[in-house]
Structures are given as structure tokens and as C-alpha cells.
């Protein structure tokens, strides 16, 4: 089958590849770029294990072609850390025991990440709806909700600290 060149930015890095038009985005990410944190759980977009951010919105990369992402910016779970430091969501998932087998975790993190970008201070109900496109078979979601709450609090505090720091530095 004829191949087509695509170019995307994944976690800040340019990636190019010649792909069949039918190649799923998730296979491009996992098998062409070798970022295997994004998982496949159901093939039908129900489970959300393949969730990534594309141009600022979450997509289920198992139900999208790689060519549809051409020119786009993608963030996967591998792009969450800042250097060696966990993102507050990663920290929250660890502190609140928000993961067990770890298979849903990358998608769960990306959906939570998108939620907190839109809504930095969500209610429990908003968190539950925010991750309702992601299935978890192990945790019963309760500790995932707590993990997202942990991250929301931490990010708000970090934000305030950063602002205070900026004010203090501005005053010098």
C-alpha cells in the first residue's frame, strides 16, 4: 500500500515517518516512534488506554489514523515529567495509590491532565465525568479521584508559589 510522509511533534520532538494511510495513530506512536507507554485495551475507543493529547485535546489514538495527526502536536505519558521531576498527577497517583496493574494509567493520566488544564479545581463529580472515557479494572476509581484531587491542590499551590516568587523577584 502506498505510503505517505507525515510529520508530527511528540513531546516536543519532531518525528517523521512514511506511513500507510490506514496506520493507526497508536501504532505510529508505539511502533514507529517506540513510545510504548500509550496502550491498546479495546480497539473500539471504549477503554481509553490509548488516550493522548493532540493539539491540546485528548484523542483515543486507537481510533484515529496517523495521517490525520500530520502536522500536529502530540503529548503522551512520556511527556509528562519535567526533567527528573514527576508531574503533580504522577505524584498524586503514587501517593494516593491510584494505580495497580498500570495498564490504564497512561491514558488515565492524560485524561486527568486535560481535565486539569480546562478546570484546575474540579469537584469530585467533575473528575468522575472527566475520566469517564477511561476504564480501570483494578482500582475502582476511588483512589484515582483522590490522585486527581491531590494534583489539583498541588498545582494550585505551585501556581500561587510561582506567582508569589515572581512578585518577590519583581520587587527587587
Amino acid at each position: 500500500m502506498a505510503k505517505q510522509m507525515i510529520k508530527v511533534k511528540i513531546n516536543g520532538r519532531d518525528r517523521e515517518g512514511a506511513v500507510e494511510p490506514r496506520l493507526l495513530l497508536v501504532h505510529f506512536i508505539r511502533e514507529s516512534v517506540h513510545l510504548t507507554g500509550t496502550h491498546i485495551g479495546c480497539d473500539t475507543s471504549h477503554c481509553g488506554a490509548c488516550t493522548v493529547m493532540l493539539n491540546g485535546k485528548t484523542v483515543k489514538s486507537c481510533t484515529m489514523f496517523a495521517v490525520q495527526a500530520d502536522g500536529g502536536e502530540i503529548t503522551t505519558v512520556e511527556g509528562l515529567m519535567k526533567g527528573d521531576v514527576f508531574h503533580p498527577l504522577q505524584e498524586g497517583f503514587k501517593q494516593e495509590h491510584g494505580l495497580q496493574c498500570g495498564f490504564c494509567t497512561p491514558g488515565m493520566l492524560m485524561s486527568s491532565y486535560a481535565l486539569l488544564q480546562k478546570n484546575p479545581n474540579p469537584t469530585e463529580e467533575e473528575i468522575r465525568w472527566g475520566i469517564s472515557g477511561n476504564l480501570c479494572r483494578c482500582t475502582g476509581y476511588q483512589n484515582i479521584v483522590k490522585a486527581v484531587q491531590y494534583a489539583a491542590k498541588k498545582m494550585t499551590e505551585d501556581d500561587i508559589n510561582a506567582k508569589n516568587k515572581a512578585v518577590a523577584q519583581g520587587g527587587k
Binding site: H39, M81, H97, Y141
Partner: protein, 783 residues
């Protein structure tokens, strides 16, 4: 028990999990992440029919497609004697079909190609000619004279597989004949599927130059699988290395060996190229190990005051096309005979008949210790029906009949010796979470207004942690388990296990056992599992056996090390062994605590300054054979509200008070409870693998096979009582499955309770809104 510091992190500390770091960064290594040089892909061709004669399989067009390396058929495997393979329950199963197919999605041919897309294209080009045969879907018709005989390969020309019974039939029948009160429930525990989020798969990598076969496998029992590959495939066992990498949930689904694994291995053996085979979700739901499908009847006989006398159980088990249950050899119905629950009975009798139908094979223990879920559900439903019959409060009826805490070890009428329990205290603890009287009053008032709320209770007992090996085996291999602990010169260590975590947190909890036994910080112990070339032989992780068996092996290995450490300490301190006192982390001389040696100092000496004549090093291995099973228990209470307009059930409150004996890591135990309850919720309200009359699967995707999201799942309230197991080295019992075993009855009891004043006695799972609405409509109360 000695309480270690949080830094050491022994028993009872909620230390954070060691395995989380890699999972949170997307650096887990699941089987589909394994990518070997030159690797090719397998794709299965499956039958669209539930029962059909296989007229021909034409692979020419598929083989002609560029990029296709091979197409394997049943006839090809038959030449190598591999068209059939043994199951874990004494039956055999087709790897690839020859002669005929017996269930929809049965494996017919295996395509190997350079990439997964070409493999899927080629699978479409395999031309299979079928001649449809009459289909047997209803297990109740399996032994009818007019029904087709499914298994032509068997000598016995019947669809009946086995009859199994336990208990005293005559005395039970006699007891019933004189009982003032009897109650009966007919309950189907529906066919469902464990559906871990990661499907099953493997990478088979045969190196023709070295003769070594590496199999990366989603396996809950890697050592047993290695032995079976050796025995069935004729490959020398030392040349097989099974590696279970990170596993994305198992829940029993990853205990059996599936045809796809065998085909990938055959393809790699033939080509000398690594072959990857990963199931799609539909393949997972339609062809690999289903669970339950028990058509059960329970009858209870009692006095008028509610004192129970006898239990009689009759069950028809639908095993599908092959008897491929994964359970101990001597127990065709698993540990179903725990169905007497936590009640004192004079007599009990239980019988089970297994039959073939044109459905996928299986009968795996889905988050369950071999049919315990079915048993707990049945008795807890039956007790509620008896309460209804007696017009007695279901809590009082239970309390009246509980085995007393001074009656342990308790010998059940169906042959088990319950190790320990305090059911009354556990029930009382659960009742502290609710105001039962107020809820009953509210229910009464709501009923007057035509509103429906229900309170469901389930007080269950489990039976987990198989062996003992004199009674239990899997495919002939005795059910012990193992731990190998090696302490390095600097006092750090590595612990290798015969089990395999699928999310349970073994890397953390096993290290905590070592921390408790030796005082070496849990963070200093690496835990390794799943590589059969390095780990000691074990039976694997299922049936809540990791803590009861391998956890015990870990403690015993650590205690062996402690005894050697005592000798070294005596030598170093120039004291006699008897004069040494131990607390986790150090030995000291009685009366002079300043004269002491830490375990780290002793470890260093074991390699640098050990006594003359003593073997160097500090390591031990233990193969633990438990003297008995363990019997965790609990009380679950569900409070539900039913919308009469839609039949939808809202879980207002759910309380789970578990007793799993002594706890290693409370955080992980609570996480297991949350997860198990959510699977129980799914089973009670959503999950069903159904078949139409032609044998077409009705639950083959997550569109049809429903799993709860965060929105449907309530917050779970948990509590505990602690009744240690008297025979376990540190008094633990196991927890992973209790919430899944105990909760379905709580949900059904709650829904039936909401409608019981209308004469409703039972509703089968899954209790979908449509089903509940229909019941309410029949009673004239639907909105």
C-alpha cells in the same frame, strides 16, 4: 507483632509502591511492548459459526499475499501431533480446528506475516468452507435425547462431562423431610469474563542456533506453563524460558494456555523468527476463559425460630465446548463446597453436573478461588430467601446461625476445616457504619410513597491459598509455592518468587515481609518474579494464594537466614547463640544491649568474616506447603435506591468490613477491596457474555460487555476486623478476591429487599435497568 519503623517498612505500614515509578512514566514492559529484531506477527482466523463441519481450509490466496510467511491450519498441526492440547481439567481442546468447529470464534488457522496489518489482510484471504450443524446453546438441553452430541472425539457419546457430589445426601434429604420451614432459590450466576484491560498475548522467540525458546507471555503461572510447553511440545524444559513481563490485570483470565500461544510457538519453532501474537478485545471476550455460568438451586431447611438445619445444592455447570476450567485436578467444581458459608448446619449436600455446549471453553476463577464466588453468592442469596420465608430480619437470621468464634477450627459438613473467624464481631463492626433501624424506618416510609430503597447484606467466608499439596494440584503439579532470598554483602537483597503479580503490588508487599522478618528496609529488597530461568518453581498467582502461600515461603526463607545470622552474630559477639536476643534488624547479648550486631553487619560478615567451617553467603530458599487453606471473611452492606421510572439502581452507600487476618500493607489491601467491589458491581449490574439461539456471542466488545466507569462506581467505605490465621507464619489470610466474592450477593439482596414487599424473591444478575423495570412493571409499580 513487633512494629518496625516506617523507614524499615515491615508489616502494617502503608508504604508507597515500588512498581509505580515505571508505570507512571509509561515505562512498564507489557507483552505488546516487547519488540525483538526481525519480529513478525500472527493473526488468528476464527470460525463465524458456533457448530459446523469444516469442509475445507484453503490458504493459497493468503500465502500469495506479499509479506506473508506462513499460514498454519489444524491439518498442519495434526501432522506434528499438536492439533489438540490438554486442558487444565483433564479434557483436551483443539488448538486449530480439524473436522469441525464447536464455538463461535474458535481458532481455525494462524497467519504469520511481516506486520500486523498484512497478517490481518491475509487472514481475510483464508477461505474456509463450513457446513452448519445444529447448535446447542442451552445447557439444560445438553442431555436431551434430541440434542446434538458435540464432542465426536470422545468415547463417551454424551454432552455430560462429570457428576460431582459431596456431603451426605440421605441424611440431608431426611432432614429436609421433617423440617418445619424450607426455602429455595434458583439462581443463575451468569457467564461473564474477567476482561483485564490488557488482553492475552505472547512473543515466541526460538533461536535455532542455541535451541533456546524464549516465550514472553501474559501468564499468571509462568513455571507451570513452562512445564506444560515441555510436556506437550516435547521441548527440553531447560531450553524453555517463560518470561511474564508486566501484566495488565489477570483476574484468572491469564491462567490457561490458549491456542494463540501454541500457534505463535509453533510458528517461531518452524521459522526461527520471533512471532508476536496479541489478542484483540473481541477475541479476548469471545474465545478466552470465561467465568461462572453456574445454574444453581439452593434449599435451606430450618426451624420456625430460624435455626438452620440443612442445605441442599444442585448445580448445572455450562463448560462450553471443552472442559477448560482452571482448577485443582480433584475438584471438578473447584471449592464450590464452601457453599455452607459461615453457618452451623446439621446436614449438607451439594452436587454439580458439568455439560458441554457450543460456547467458548473456560470456567476460569475470575477474581475467585475456584468457584468460591458462585458458592458465596448462592448461600447468601438463600439465607435472604429464608429470612423472607420466616419474615425474619436477615441480619438476625445470620447472627443466630453464625459459627461462634469459640467453635474454630470448625469442621464444615462439606469437608473443610475453617481456620479461624469471628463473624459476630465482624458483623457488628459493619453495622457501626450505618443506622440500620433508621434505614428500615425510612424504607417503610418510602414504600408508602411508592418509592423503593433496599438494604442488602452479605456475610461471606472464603477459602483461599491452595495447597495443601496432598489435596491440591494443577495438572498434576502439587500446589506449593516458593521464595528464594539472597542477602548481599552490604545488607541489601533480592527476593525471587514463584508467583507473578498482575497489579497486586508484590514488589512492595513481599519486600515488607522480609523487612518484618529481618529488619532490612523494604526499600533495600528487590523483588523479582515471572522469569522461569531465575525464579524458583512456583504455581503462580490466582485464587488469592500469593500471600497465604508465597508470603509464607518468604517468611520461612527469611527465618532460615535469621538462624544463620544468629550463628554469625554469636561468632562476632563471642557469645553463645542462646544468649542472643533478636529484634528485627539486630541481635544483642542478653543483659548488655550495647553488645549488638545489625543484620547489615552480619550480612557483611557472611561474606568477609564468617566462622571457620561455615558455608559463606546468606541466602535461603523455601518451598512452602500450607497445612491448610485460609478462610478470610467479611460483612458487606449495600443501600440502594431504585428509580421506578427507569429501573436504574443507585448505590447510596456501600460498607465493606473485611477480615483477612494480619495485614502487610493497609493501603494496598484497601486498594484491592475497592477494585474487587467494583468488579462485583460490574457482575451484579452489567457483565454478561450472552449467546443467541444460533450461538452468536452477544457480548463481544466493550459496547455490549459493559464495565463500570468512574461515574457508575460509588465511593466504597471500608473497615476491618483482624482474626489472624493460626497456621500461617504471620497470620495473614489473603484479600484480593474477598470483595469480588462477597459483594454480588449484597447488591442482589439490596435490590430484592427493595421489592420484597411486592413478593419479589429473586432477580438474576446482571440486574440491568430494563430487567428491574420489567419486574416492577409486572408488579404494577413501574413509573
Amino acid at each position: 507483632m513487633f512494629k518496625t519503623t516506617p523507614e524499615v517498612g515491615g508489616m502494617g505500614h502503608s508504604i508507597k509502591r515500588k512498581e509505580d515509578g515505571r508505570f507512571l512514566q509509561g515505562k512498564g514492559n507489557y507483552v505488546d511492548d516487547v519488540n525483538l529484531p526481525g519480529m513478525v506477527y500472527g493473526h488468528m482466523v476464527r470460525s463465524p459459526f458456533a457448530h459446523a463441519r469444516l469442509k475445507s481450509v484453503n490458504t493459497e490466496k493468503a500465502k500469495a499475499l506479499p509479506g506473508v510467511l506462513a499460514v498454519i491450519t489444524g491439518e498442519d498441526l495434526a501432522k506434528a501431533g499438536l492439533a489438540w492440547m490438554p486442558t487444565l481439567s483433564g479434557d483436551k481442546q483443539m488448538v486449530l480446528a480439524t473436522g469441525k468447529v464447536l464455538f463461535q470464534a474458535q481458532e481455525v488457522a494462524f497467519v504469520v506475516a511481516e506486520d500486523r496489518y498484512i497478517a490481518a489482510d491475509a487472514a481475510e484471504l483464508v477461505e474456509v468452507e463450513y457446513e452448519e450443524l445444529p447448535v446447542l446453546v442451552d445447557p439444560k438441553k445438553a442431555t436431551d435425547p434430541g440434542s446434538p452430541i458435540l464432542r465426536e472425539d470422545r468415547e463417551e457419546k454424551t454432552n455430560h462431562i462429570f457428576h460431582w457430589e459431596v456431603g451426605d445426601r440421605a441424611s440431608t434429604d431426611k432432614n429436609f423431610s421433617t423440617a418445619p420451614v424450607t426455602a429455595r432459590v434458583d439462581a443463575l450466576f451468569q457467564r461473564c469474563h474477567p476482561a483485564p484491560l490488557e488482553t492475552c498475548g505472547c512473543v515466541a522467540d526460538f533461536n535455532k542456533a542455541t535451541g533456546k525458546l524464549n516465550i514472553y507471555l501474559t501468564s499468571q503461572a509462568p513455571h507451570v506453563h513452562r512445564t506444560l510447553f515441555a510436556l506437550v511440545g516435547g521441548i527440553p524444559e531447560q531450553n524453555i524460558r517463560v518470561i511474564s513481563p508486566d501484566i495488565g490485570g489477570g483476574f484468572g483470565n491469564k491462567v490457561p494456555i490458549y491456542p494463540g500461544y501454541v500457534c505463535a510457538v509453533v510458528a517461531s519453532l518452524t521459522t526461527g523468527i520471533p512471532v508476536k501474537w496479541i489478542e484483540t478485545r473481541s477475541e479476548n471476550l469471545m474465545s478466552t476463559g470465561f467465568a461462572r455460568d453456574y445454574h444453581m438451586t439452593a434449599e435451606l431447611a430450618a426451624e420456625k425460630d430460624g435455626t438452620m438445619r440443612a442445605l441442599r445444592v444442585k448445580t448445572l455447570a455450562d463448560h462450553g465446548a471443552f472442559n477448560a476450567t482452571a482448577q485443582p485436578t480433584k475438584f471438578p467444581a473447584g471449592l464450590f463446597s464452601i457453599c455452607t458459608g459461615n453457618y452451623v448446619l446439621q446436614d449438607a449436600f451439594c452436587e454439580v453436573d458439568g455439560v458441554y455446549t457450543n460456547k467458548a471453553p473456560g470456567g476460569v476463577a475470575y477474581r475467585c478461588s475456584f468457584r468460591v464466588t458462585e458458592a458465596a453468592y448462592l448461600i447468601e442469596r438463600a439465607v435472604d430467601v429464608l429470612a423472607q420465608e420466616l419474615k425474619m430480619d436477615p441480619i438476625e437470621l445470620r447472627r443466630k446461625n453464625f459459627i461462634g468464634k469459640d467453635q474454630f477450627p470448625y469442621q464444615s459438613k462439606l469437608g473443610w476445616s475453617y481456620d479461624s473467624g469471628d463473624y459476630h464481631a465482624n458483623l457488628d463492626k459493619a453495622l457501626e457504619f450505618i443506622d440500620y433501624k433508621a434505614l428500615r424506618k425510612e424504607q417503610e416510609e418510602k414504600r408508602k410513597k411508592g418509592e423503593f430503597m433496599g438494604i442488602g447484606i452479605s456475610t461471606f467466608v472464603e477459602i483461599v491459598g491452595a495447597g495443601p499439596s496432598h489435596t491440591f494440584d494443577i495438572a498434576g503439579i502439587k500446589m506449593f509455592d516458593s521464595a528464594e532470598l539472597r542477602i548481599h554483602p552490604t545488607g541489601k537483597g533480592i527476593l525471587r518468587m514463584g508467583t507473578k503479580s498482575q497489579g497486586q503490588g508484590h514488589e512492595t508487599t513481599y519486600a515488607q515481609i522480609v523487612a518484618q522478618e529481618l529488619g532490612i528496609p523494604a526499600s533495600d529488597i528487590t523483588v523479582e518474579e515471572g522469569d522461569t530461568d531465575t525464579a524458583p518453581y512456583g504455581l503462580g498467582t490466582y485464587a488469592s494464594r500469593s500471600t497465604p502461600v508465597s508470603g509464607a515461603a518468604t517468611a520461612m526463607a527469611a527465618r532460615k537466614i535469621r538462624e544463620k545470622a544468629r550463628k554469625i552474630a554469636a561468632y562476632l559477639l563471642e557469645a553463645s547463640e542462646e544468649d542472643l536476643e533478636w529484634e528485627p534488624g539486630k541481635f544483642w547479648v542478653k543483659g548488655s544491649p550495647s553488645k549488638s550486631k545489625t543484620i547489615q553487619e552480619i550480612a557483611f560478615a557472611a561474606y568477609t568474616n564468617h566462622p571457620q567451617g561455615m558455608e559463606a553467603g546468606l541466602e535461603a530458599v523455601n518451598y512452602y506447603d500450607p497445612p491448610n487453606l485460609t478462610f478470610p471473611f467479611g460483612t458487606y452492606i449495600a443501600v440502594v435506591d431504585i428509580d421506578k421510572g427507569t429501573g436504574a439502581v443507585k448505590i447510596r452507600k456501600f460498607v465493606a468490613v473485611d477480615d483477612c487476618g494480619n495485614i502487610i500493607n493497609p493501603m494496598i489491601v484497601e486498594g484491592q477491596i475497592h477494585g474487587g467491589l467494583t468488579e462485583g458491581l460490574a457482575i451484579a449490574f452489567m457483565q454478561l457474555i450472552d449467546y443467541d439461539e444460533s450461538g452468536n456471542v452477544q457480548g463481544g466488545t466493550f459496547m455490549d460487555y459493559l464495565l463500570p466507569t468512574a461515574v457508575e462506581t460509588p465511593n466504597w467505605e471500608t473497615g476491618k476486623t483482624v482474626t489472624p490465621s493460626p497456621h500461617h507464619p504471620f497470620g495473614a489470610k489473603g484479600i484480593g478476591e474477598s470483595p469480588n466474592v462477597g459483594s454480588p450477593a449484597a447488591f442482589v439482596n439490596a435490590v430484592v429487599d427493595a421489592l420484597s414487599h411486592l413478593g419479589v424473591k429473586h432477580i438474576d444478575m446482571p440486574m440491568t435497568p430494563a430487567k428491574i423495570w420489567q419486574v416492577m412493571k409486572e408488579k404494577g409499580v413501574a413509573g
